[in-house]
Symmetry: C2
């Protein structure tokens, strides 16, 4: 029995192939540091479960398709603390940021329409595009200049009559790139000039380390009708297991249409919505401690990477990822070898190969993504292991190294 | 800014338009019985919240995309009590039955492919088809013979080279129809003969009132490779607010493909999954009391409908809906009038117009769906109100009546 071409076009996450190897290594007593995934180790604020545990409903019933009012109000309160003026009518609650993106793709694109985005990109965008018959078109950004936006003419050259939107991830996953005010203005102007939607995926918004602070197309009133904000509580509050995301837009006609997709799947989890109210009502100072912790980890990793010969990596200003070029030719082979054949004092690290983050899997062969989601001591150990691993790998496979 | 044709093709649930009217009526002191929606009033088993409240996780982290093992094991245990042999590898956990259907549509159909289903149909199938560029093709069934399957030749005549699947709802929503063993054999044979998937949406499986009991294409080994079971805990355990559904199939190649859609949206709610484990582990006798309660309500409504002149309605054997033909020409107008202009001792009822349950909204103009989701006394009151309402309506609008 055949399946659809659209599902056949989808990929499995590249990193899944390593898990059986990791299991084997662990069975042999090797300790593995998981620097491959964006699962934070920060404790979920206790308000979440407290609220869930105080639920007083005999019947766990459907909630409104667009999300419970208390949660949409809490979200609007959060945005107002960022200086953004959203009403509950501008806000739909979704099953995580993933559903927010999926609904946006379906809602603004017909089959064959195109969405333009920077590469390297969050790999799941590719799967969403395949599932919804959208063509994702990339413009390249590079480790050498910290994944800066290319000249506007490069982006413009990729716009076709089928282009419906520019999708930006800010801060970026996997790059950690935070767009400057000037870069955001470029994208806002391109969207206005070419009559495109601008979608901003800001799930890492609270993880910004520079002085320039939070900048978003959401701040440009002239773009309001064309702007779609995609958000999620997963990373921000270390609540990945609660599936709560948001679509925000001032374009009421669009929101009315997107609401039909919410009605199609009836509702979002009642318990997760109730718990999320407490998270979004947290004081903005809640993030101070977390940001301090990630700032520490980031410095540890950055300093360590600077001391590994041949590594190319500018200091990323956001999220909790480093996208680094290694002095090797095939990162997938290196990552596999690190798990199967290498250890430093009985320990090794698992990294993400970067080819998953490009539209053409031949790209990014010499790059890896490092997630700094472990405590400082473990991150330091991980970087030491990486340094020794690279040395040993280049001794063993000199032709595979640069 | 334009939205996509596919989202424009989607409809808003017809019944939403009545809610502002209901609010007005309630403000004037009118009591409204909601017989329009499938939100059961049965208490959610306390095991659900007990399990959620005993959670011992500091970090509410992502769970496996395919669902937690304990839940897939509990689901397989439940099916084994029905005599069905499913392994955890045959089972994907989804965000409700809705996502199970959405993923199935995407996974087996390309844009323009067709799925065949009986009309009247669950209205949300139409929205899912629009969202995924699938063409839903209907074959009619009728109140006069209890929505029996038509002659196989009628169904066969609707099969085209683009047909990918037959989708059945058993027990049916909105019809309450339970397919007989013979009818199921017809569908199994059609699927085999024409090399189609057979999708069975069985979310009302535990609400079967006849002696024939549970019959499913799942019981036909020869169809295993072509059979997809869609399920949900929402109705069965009165847990609509927990978004837990399932896709089950013995077709491993298909399941590998569908798993990519699960990976695309990362995970299902951790709390809902944990709570659902307790529900699926409940003894099969749990349903006895609920079934007895619904049997009582069903008899009250059926007896009452038999006593309203001109109503056509065979006794439905499943779910908790009656689909009835009324002696009127425009059910939408009647429903609106009942809310705005009618009361019986200060009370009225809200029903679902049936045109939402047909592909062509001109169909079903004289039909309504009645959900028996309230207690027996309220259902009896509701039916008395309906009887008086029909009398008064036909006095006021004789030309709108038959």
């Amino acid at each position: 029995m055949e399946t659809s071409y659209r599902i056949q076009k989808m990929s499995e996450p590249a990193l899944l192939k390593y898990y059986p190897l990791v299991s084997e290594a662990q069975k042999k007593g090797k300790k593995v540091y998981f620097l491959n995934i964006g699962q934070p180790d920060i404790t979920t604020p206790e308000g979440f479960l407290k609220r869930v545990n105080s639920i007083d409903q005999k019947v766990l019933s459907y909630q409104a398709p667009e999300g419970i009012t208390a949660l949409r109000e809490a979200a609007c309160g959060y945005y107002s603390r960022l200086g953004l003026n959203y009403d509950t009518g501008d806000c739909l609650v979704t099953n995580g940021g993933s559903e927010a993106l999926l609904f946006t793709f379906i809602g603004i694109c017909n089959a064959g329409d195109e969405i333009l985005t920077a590469e390297p990109l969050y790999s799941i965008y590719k799967e969403m595009a395949a599932a919804t018959d959208v063509k994702l078109v990339g413009f390249k950004t590079y480790a050498e200049d910290g994944f800066a936006l290319p000249d506007p003419s490069v982006i413009e050259a990729a716009i076709t009559p089928r282009t419906r939107a520019i999708l930006m991830t800010n801060p970026g996953n996997p790059t950690g790139k935070v767009f400057t005010k000037k870069e955001i203005e470029v994208m806002v102007e391109l969207a206005l000039k070419h009559h495109l939607y601008l979608i901003s995926d800001e799930v890492y918004r609270e993880f910004i380390y520079g002085d320039e602070g939070y900048q978003s197309p959401a701040q440009y009133d002239e773009l309001a009708d064309q702007f779609i904000l995609v958000d999620s509580i997963s990373k921000r509050y270390s609540a990945c297991g609660a599936r709560i995301g948001f679509i925000l837009s001032k374009n009421q006609a669009l929101m009315e249409q997107l609401k039909k997709l919410c009605q199609m799947r009836l509702a979002v989890s009642t318990l997760d919505q109730l718990g999320a109210v407490e998270l979004l009502n947290l004081d903005q100072h809640f993030f101070d401690g977390i940001l301090a912790e990630y700032t520490k980890r980031r410095k540890i990793v950055y300093d360590a990477l600077q001391n590994i010969p041949g590594v190319i990596c500018k200091e990323p200003m956001g999220a909790f990822y480093f996208m680094a070029k290694l002095p090797i030719k095939d990162a997938s082979h290196f990552i596999e070898w690190m798990i199967n054949d290498f250890d430093y004092l009985g320990e090794t690290v698992l990294l993400s190969p970067a080819n998953d983050f490009y539209l053409n899997p031949a790209d990014g062969a010499d790059e890896v993504r490092i997630a700094y989601v472990l405590n400082g001591a473990d991150m330091l150990k991980g970087m030491t292991i990486l340094k020794h691993g690279l040395e040993a790998y280049c001794m063993a496979f000199p032709k595979a190294c640069k």
